[in-house]
Amino acid sequence: MAAPATAAGPGRESAIQLAPAPLLEVSDLRVTFRARGTSIYAVQGISYTVEPGQTLAVIGESGSGKTVSARAVMGLLPGSASVAGSVRFRGEELVGLSQADMRSHRGRSFAMVFQYPERSLNPTMRVGSQITEAIRTHEQAGKKEAHDRAVDLLKMVRLPAPERRFYEYPHQLSGGMRQRVVIAIALACGPQVLFADEATTALDVTTQAQIMDLLLELQQQTGTALVMISHDLGLAATYAEDVMVMYAGKVVERAPAKELFAGVRMPYTQALLDAIPRIELEPHVLLPVVGGRPPDLAAIPLGCPFAPRCPGVQEDCRQEAPPLKQHEAGRWWACWHPLGKGARP
């Protein structure tokens, strides 16, 4: 992986540093939404670090907190959300920063690509203006300079005929082309961490492959760290180095992709893997399924959140929630009764 292009972020130097601070360090992040007297514990204390050039996949079902946690890092949550814990970017604490201070980080420190490109783009603005807007919002740049940089960005994301596309509107582009434009906007100010929130979910499988290949290639050119948020374990296995699995607002397993898929520890990850239809399977093979639904996030359950659905549940699982611990080098899981090496239930 390439080294980061720029050395110093906007953060101030800490007085004493034993080891260089990680690029992005999230510790015990908690997000709670309060509405009409009830609290929704959407993210219940997650921790992770991201280093330059790294590709981390955050995997989980709808409502597992993967998007909310990324938005909390970006400072993009609505006022009804309260964020606790710590998010450090190159050592600088971000939780509690004012919107104006967060703005100076967005775009340059980190940027985000969202699921639906048509909702990320303004339908009444030309594609080019939306890129120059991003550049001129975050940096001092003249109109001509911004224009040239925007065309270069469109070239970089391999949009055909960039000079012409610059003057087109989003509706004149296909879904894959629109997502390329969104990526160009995200990369406009050279972010050091790029969050891709289901960036290819709305696209076809061939377009998805094109966009993922593009993201990885750009990442290698620029040394940006990539955090891809997805529900698709297949996508994570194909493109990410590290995989973090979330369930009901908690991280339940984290491991390097190769090791994770070679021997899953957490039964929930196994259930996710088993439920994917795969081209190696014979037709009409029934998929192993777990019943039930994820727990209600309005209350933090007493035991392991997956216990009610887990095929290997034991009495202690219902009593106390297992903490996420590093059990082997680089391998973390939160389970009292992890699955054996390569064994399947």
């Binding site: 296909s174 076809d204 061939t206 492959a209 290949d213 898929f261 998929l287």
Partner: protein, 355 residues
């Protein structure tokens, strides 16, 4: 939790349930003032058979015409040209009562479970509606039927019957949509991306339900999806569609282990696989570029503009869908059979794939 193979009643496929011949569906676009703005060629000359008890999967990208094809089969709207023969009866040209009677055995399940159910109706009423529309039984008999189909799809009628769609999860809504489709005991269900909006665990539950019902009720499915692995899981035969035309049609195992059309190969190599042994595929086989406009499709073979092995003949001559051995069909001048294993272009063979 065990891996069970359900064998359908019609593996042999002797009886043809649905015959589609040379189906063409085009939409005229209008500019300002009603001037003709072009013809969108959604489905162009598509022919296939579907046998009793069989699941025919249709895969293709967005804009390939697969949903339009399903809608043309149920005559909503009727196709411009071609024949749709269901249970020996020609559907094209049927009107009002005759069409309604024919559609009784032909039901549809849509992609978005929320927008395909009336939000103000209770689950029981949604499922009862087709029975009322066709005047089936009296009120008590209809209620019994509603209860039994809800049971069939795994929803407790006492608990869920009175709920509205907003009180259900996506997976439960899709079960209701399936119950509604099953209420009239149809022969064929057209499923248009029925599980693609569901989470992976719920998706597996609903897919298994489709399999269970097929085996128990002897149903036939026309199963439309963009996910090749998913289509393989439910199908007996698969048709690959590109820009309104069929590229390839054949038994599912053969298509996946030895694709003949370059587009099928490109689709197969684009699938991310959760097996680290497969890893990252050769990016050279990822097809480049964008889907051409269906307003002005390329001459000759419609895939030629993105095909890595296109030649002069591909631009000049439209490749017909021609039969090969073992019930396989391909629409390509230069199918991959001979040269296929030579390059590193194939998805890495795992034991299950090299059948």
């Amino acid at each position: 939790m065990t891996e069970t193979v359900l064998t359908g009643s019609g593996e042999t496929g002797s009886d043809v349930l649905l015959e589609v011949r040379h189906l063409v569906q085009e939409f005229v676009l209008r500019d300002f003032g009603g001037a003709k703005g072009g013809v969108l060629q959604a489905v162009s000359d598509v022919s296939f058979d579907l046998h009793v008890g069989e699941t025919l999967g249709i895969v293709g990208e967005t804009g390939s015409g697969k949903s339009t094809l399903a809608r043309s089969v149920i005559q909503a709207p009727p196709p411009q040209q071609g024949e749709v023969i269901f249970q020996g009866q020609e559907l094209v040209g049927l009107r009002h009562k005759a069409l309604k009677a024919a559609r009784r055995n032909l039901q549809m399940v849509f992609q978005d479970p929320f927008s395909s159910l009336d939000p103000r109706w209770s689950v029981s009423r949604i499922v009862e509606e087709p029975l009322i529309a066709y005047g089936v039984g009296n009120m008590a008999e209809r209620r019994d039927r509603v209860k039994s189909v809800l049971d069939l799809v795994g929803l407790d009628p006492g608990r869920y019957g009175i709920r509205r769609p907003r009180e259900l999860s996506g997976g439960q809504c899709q079960r209701v949509a399936l119950a509604r489709a099953l209420a009239l005991e149809p022969k064929l269900i057209l499923c248009d991306e029925p599980v693609s909006s569901l989470d992976v665990l719920v998706q597996a539950q609903v897919l298994n339900l489709f399999e269970k019902l097929r085996a128990e009720l002897g149903l036939s499915y026309l199963f439309i999806a963009h996910d090749l692995a998913l289509v393989k899981q439910v199908s007996d035969r698969v048709a690959v569609m590109y820009l309104g035309k069929l590229c390839e049609l054949g038994p599912v195992r053969e298509i996946y282990s030895e694709p003949l059309h370059p587009y099928t190969l490109a689709l197969l190599t684009s699938i991310p696989d959760p097996d680290p042994q497969v890893g990252r595929r050769d990016t050279a086989t990822v097809i480049k570029g964008e889907l051409p406009s269906p307003l002005d499709p390329p001459s000759g073979c419609r895939f030629r503009t993105r095909c890595p092995m296109a030649q002069a003949r591909c631009a000049a001559e439209v490749p017909e869908l021609r039969p090969l051995s073992d019930g396989r069909y391909v629409a390509c001048h230069f199918p991959l059979a001979g040269s296929w294993p030579a390059e590193g272009a194939l998805p890495q063979a795992s034991p299950a794939m090299t059948v």
